[in-house]
């Protein structure tokens, strides 16, 4: 046999082997369990509930752990979970929670008030992750166990939004955490890739940088919402959007997130694929530096806000977005549509510009956006076109996210305009209002360095009132005043979208979850 013939046969044999072992096009199975495959772009570097959160981390934390309460539905409601009921004192300082009696950690230990105390104290002590939500109001000695199933939090001062942050404070099993402590790390190293929770899933495989597999807990103390609930979930890391899309089309993934607007539209036309499409809580705004440069002038900022073509924002998302009608996202409690909110009005823009220090334009403004984020680049092009009508030039500066955060951290370096997506972590209006407080200066969403003593006083007052009836008028005024000062171009709320195989059922959208995040507990697979 000649070498050419031998090579040819070898090639044919190799191809035959490769084709014969090609993957099946369906969800995965492990015995009689149906395993849902979620192709996500973002790693889960740690699942320690006290250390970090973002959409992918929180999706897994929510699956492995339980909180006292949970956000469910659209509009999001806070529903009892480990706590079956609670009371709050009239001054919003003392919060008492009564736990369910049947909750069990995965190792069989009961979930007790002591476990809740330990978990909250651990997060406060480590001072990482979600600690910022409560650390200004809750100290370790303010957490008291009143019985096996009763726990009381006494805050250092009244704080009405307290409850709205609790869904993200998960309860850990102290025995497991302390048994795996290394030195004085409070179990941090161990909890990076191990769980000590009572949630609906437990860890099956944790291959860092590759995939994370969790399996459903049979006899989960809370029960399952569907008999067809998923038997497990594999979060497979697929970094490229093109590969995510291909995985969905090939049936190698049941859910994908993070595709472009065009890709979502395209996969939605494919038989067997659905694209849930809901308005989210993530605002897109172009923050303007209110303390330096030409944008320091409120008339100048307003001129820009009136020159901007808001309709273009919706077009960039192929219609899958809604314009902001207030500085607060629509799903925020107390949101009101501010009358005469900013929309394109060139006559008004020119009139306002005439009142500024640059009545005829003639200057260049810097627009900083995230390198590689196509939507933000397109928004910059819209700005160039719109502001040219005012005689203003726009210099587009793409930066990596860390560099952009660094630029926005100081008033001296914060650019004239910076494109920012912001997702509030709670539905309480304080979570958004506080982005305009001086304490938010230096954070990416505080790169406007907005200063208004009266607004700050209103924000500080509103968060201390227990009764919503007393708070609501204050938030109305806060929205109105922030809008009047135009610290940013208030843009739009892009819809949250996922590409999903149609055998996936039970998807429950809640806008308070981060972009990409899914509540895995309610998911079911109906296909045989």
């Amino acid at each position: 046999m000649t070498i050419t013939r031998l090579g040819g046969r070898l090639l044919v044999t190799t191809l035959a082997v490769l084709v014969a072992t090609a993957p099946a096009v369906a969800f995965e199975r492990a015995g009689d369990r149906k395993i849902l495959v979620f192709a996500g772009r973002q790693e889960v570097p740690t699942i320690d509930p006290s250390v970090k959160y973002d959409w992918s981390i929180r999706m897994m934390q929510q699956a492995l752990y339980d909180g006292l309460v949970k956000y469910v539905g659209n509009p999001p409601e806070i529903v009892p979970w480990l706590a079956e009921r609670w009371e709050v004192s009239p001054d919003a300082r003392t919060w008492t929670f009564h736990l369910v009696k049947n909750a069990r950690f995965h190792n069989g230990d009961p979930v007790t008030a002591e476990a809740v105390r330990f978990s909250f104290a651990r997060t406060l002590k480590l001072n990482q992750g979600p600690a910022w939500m409560l650390s200004a109001f809750l100290k370790e000695d303010g957490i008291k166990v009143l019985g096996d199933s009763t726990i009381q939090f006494t805050l250092t001062r009244p704080y009405a939004p307290f409850l709205s942050f609790l869904p993200w404070w998960y309860v850990m099993n102290p025995k497991q955490v302390l048994a795996n402590q290394q030195g004085d790390d409070l179990g941090q190293k161990w909890l990076t890739s191990n769980a000590a929770g009572s949630g609906p899933f437990r860890i099956k495989r944790w291959q860092q940088g590759v995939l994370y597999e969790i399996e459903a807990v049979d006899g989960y103390w809370k029960g399952w919402p569907s008999k067809d609930h998923v038997g497990g979930v594999i979060l497979k890391l697929v970094r490229e959007a093109a590969a995510q899309r291909a995985a969905l089309l090939r049936g190698e993934a049941d859910i994908v997130e993070g595709l472009s607007a065009d890709d979502f539209d395209q996969v939605a036309k494919t038989p067997g694929i659905v694209v849930p499409n809901f308005p989210g809580m993530t605002t897109f705004g172009i923050k303007m530096n209110t303390q330096k440069g030409p944008t320091k002038d409120v008339n100048f900022r307003k001129a820009i806000a009136y020159a901007f073509d808001y309709g273009a924002l919706v077009k960039i998302y192929n219609g899958n977005a809604v314009l902001q009608t207030s500085p607060f996202p629509n799903a925020t409690r107390g949101h009101v549509a501010v009358p005469d909110f900013y929309r394109q009005d060139l006559a008004k823009a020119k009139e306002l510009l005439a009142r500024s220090a640059h009545p005829t334009g003639g200057i260049e403004l810097e627009y900083v956006y995230v390198q590689g984020l196509e939507e933000e680049r397109k928004m910059g092009l819209v700005l160039i076109d719109n502001l040219a009508k005012l005689g203003l030039k726009v210099k587009m500066v793409p930066l990596t996210w860390p560099n952009m955060v660094a630029r926005g951290a100081k008033v001296e370096t914060a650019p004239d305009m910076m494109a920012v997506f912001t997702t509030p972590v709670s539905t309480d209006p304080d979570a958004v209002a506080y982005q305009y407080h001086r304490d938010s200066w230096g954070k990416y969403y505080g790169s406007h360095f907005y200063a208004n003593e009266e607004v700050w006083a209103l924000i500080e007052r509103a968060r201390t009132l227990a009764r919503w009836e007393d708070r609501a008028p204050l938030y109305l005024e806060i929205q109105r005043r922030i809008a009047a000062d135009a610290p940013e171009i208030f843009g739009m709320l892009a819809n949250r979208r996922w590409g999903m195989r149609d055998h996936v059922k039970g998807f429950v959208f809640s806008p308070v979850r981060f972009t990409g995040e899914v509540d895995l507990y309610s998911l079911a697979i109906t296909a045989k």
């Binding site: 082997v17 395993i35 001072n127 990482q128 910022w132 940088g209 594999i234 497979k236 560099n403 660094a406």
Partner: protein, 324 residues
Amino acid sequence: MLFGLLCITFAIARVVPGDPARLAAGPDANEDMVETLRAKYGLDQPVPVQFVRYLRGVLVGDLGQSLRSRNAVADDLLRYFPNTFELVTLSLLLAVALGIPLGMLSAVYKDTWVDHTARIVSVSGVALPAFWLGLMLQLVIALHLGLLPLGGRLPLTASPPEPITHLLLVDALLRGQGDTFVAALRHAVLPVVTLCFPALTSIMRVNRAEMIETLKQDYIQSARAQGFSGLRIVTRYALRNAMIPTLTMIGLRYGWMLGGTVLVETVFDWPGIGLYAVNAAVSSDFQPIMGVTLLIGVNFMLANLLVDFAYGWLDPRIRRPGGA
């Protein structure tokens, strides 16, 4: 050289904008939380102190801690490097196995259709960016033809064999897990082809040029006059002399491939140090980036040391002291 590399990477990590502690603390963290992290990881110390601490750590194998995952960088590198090593080694072997014969053929059949075809392939290797080639292969071979997986190292529900060498393919063979070996090989085909292609064409070009020069030498003409077969002249006499520059290219390409894994591993979700470095870079997590750079530097040096030894094996004049 390694000390220089350490100095440069450390300096770059400290001068680029961005506050690693703030990024690690998260977007909502308050100043107190940022300072807690800064102190915990020694970022509140003067830069010279940080450098001395880093050097001391490197000497005992402690490459610091990732601010993103809070893992020890050395542990992460031990986890990810075997995957990269397999990818680069397979790619290089394939590049050498195809590049040298193609270069030889191209030289022997100079200015014929064989040569022209080989040169077109060679130019393509330089012109096509690795990420584009990778995406195209995914699109055509994986998505449309369904012949191979899109990415990763194993099917979703397959578990890797118990590690012996930490090299998946080798471990699968050693454990007698034929199915796992075939599955891992299927997953390796597209990334290996993508990474190997530019190297293959470089090796081919250099080998072709050297072979053309060598085939003009007097001793080759003499061999022909003595009636030696063409195959023997090319493979035994010409190739050996043409291999010195080709070996240099192979050594250089090994280093390039280690760097090239950044793109290829990202496209194919190959869990190696390239992907690890990308994830660290986007979050300004400098300890892993410095660890990866150091590891690539060490490997590059070792590869070139091997090439130096190979020179001596190929050409006895080199291994003789004062040999000409």
